[in-house]
């Protein structure tokens, strides 16, 4: 994560954030808001954010959903395929800690039990403005110490 912030590479990376999106058993509400963030009204693309087809091209992983057993392995594989430096954003109440589905028999307690999360964006679903704000805050404001790395955006 330190390499993300230093030098010309970091300057360039901050202005061109390639995201890969994984839906780990979500109701699609958050996914639609992520897509809405890329469309002309909220327009994350003017900030350099682009949705890419493969995790191997991505800087930031956006995850929604509670993560049920069928999606667990898949999420881990996607995470492993991302090259470093990589960041993970958990979007929506379900990815944070299970959300409204917390006590359902086939729903997990959020994704941070499986992969390390760098930013949490709460909401059910969060506004596209909130999603853009979160991603920008993540990329521009990463502290040097790993302990301070986890932030909550509200």
């Amino acid at each position: 994560m330190a390499s993300f912030r230093s030098g010309l590479t970091a300057w360039a990376r901050k202005r061109s954030i390639w995201v890969f999106h994984v839906n780990a058993a979500s109701c699609n509400g958050c996914d639609i808001e992520i897509l809405a963030a890329l469309t002309p009204k909220y327009d994350a693309e003017r900030l350099g954010v682009e949705l890419v087809p493969s995790p191997r091209h991505a800087d930031v992983l956006l995850v929604t959903g509670t993560m049920n057993p069928l999606m667990k392995d898949r999420l881990k594989t996607v995470y492993d395929q991302m090259p470093e430096p990589r960041l993970v954003v958990a979007i929506g109440a379900c990815a944070l800690g299970g959300g409204v589905m917390r006590d359902c028999y086939n729903a997990g307690h959020g994704i941070d039990t499986l992969i390390p999360v760098d930013l949490y964006i709460p909401g059910c679903p969060p506004n596209p403005e909130g999603i853009i704000y979160g991603i920008l805050k993540l990329v521009t404001g990463i502290p040097d110490k790993p302990e301070e790395a986890q932030q909550v955006v509200s």
Partner: protein, 152 residues
């Protein structure tokens, strides 16, 4: 589609008819289910299978086939004992039932003889053990299921 035609089917299949606000229910024994469903589906007008619902009643499981014919639901209902939860499948006559029966098999543990989706899991994850009770049964506990699936 009227109560009389359902009663006629009831006579042919040995079932009884009850009515409620929006549904005409034909209660039959499980062996007669494919015949009753085929007859309901063949009634004049348009046939449409909305879904198949299963209810855990303690010692028995009620399985209901909801047909929609415009204005009212025609429901074919049967009871099976929990210890021997098997029903002949209606898919030869009503192909739309394939997925609905598969879902009932996964979630309530009722086996449909003749349905091609009876092996393996349909909506549940593959790691759901075959000896564990089906999740919608009264004896199944969501907390235990979560532990089994390692979801904590």
């Amino acid at each position: 589609m009227s109560v009389e035609s359902m009663q006629a089917i009831g006579v042919e299949t040995g079932g009884t008819v009850t009515t409620s606000k929006k549904a005409i229910v034909l209660n039959v024994s499980r062996e007669k289910v494919p015949e009753a469903c085929a007859k309901v589906a063949a009634m004049p007008g348009f046939y449409h299978l909305s879904t198949i619902t299963a209810l855990d009643l303690g010692e028995q499981i009620a399985v209901m086939y909801h047909f929609w014919k415009g204005k009212t639901f025609a429901v074919v209902k049967t009871l099976v004992p929990k210890s021997d939860a098997r029903i002949p499948s209606i898919t030869p006559a009503v192909p739309a039932a394939v997925f609905y029966e598969a879902e009932v098999k996964d979630l309530m543990g009722v086996f449909f003889d003749g349905n091609p989706y009876m092996k393996g899991r349909f909506v549940l994850p593959d790691e759901y053990p075959t000896d564990a009770p089906a999740p919608l049964r009264k004896e199944a506990d969501p907390a235990k299921i979560r532990k089994m699936l390692k979801l904590e």
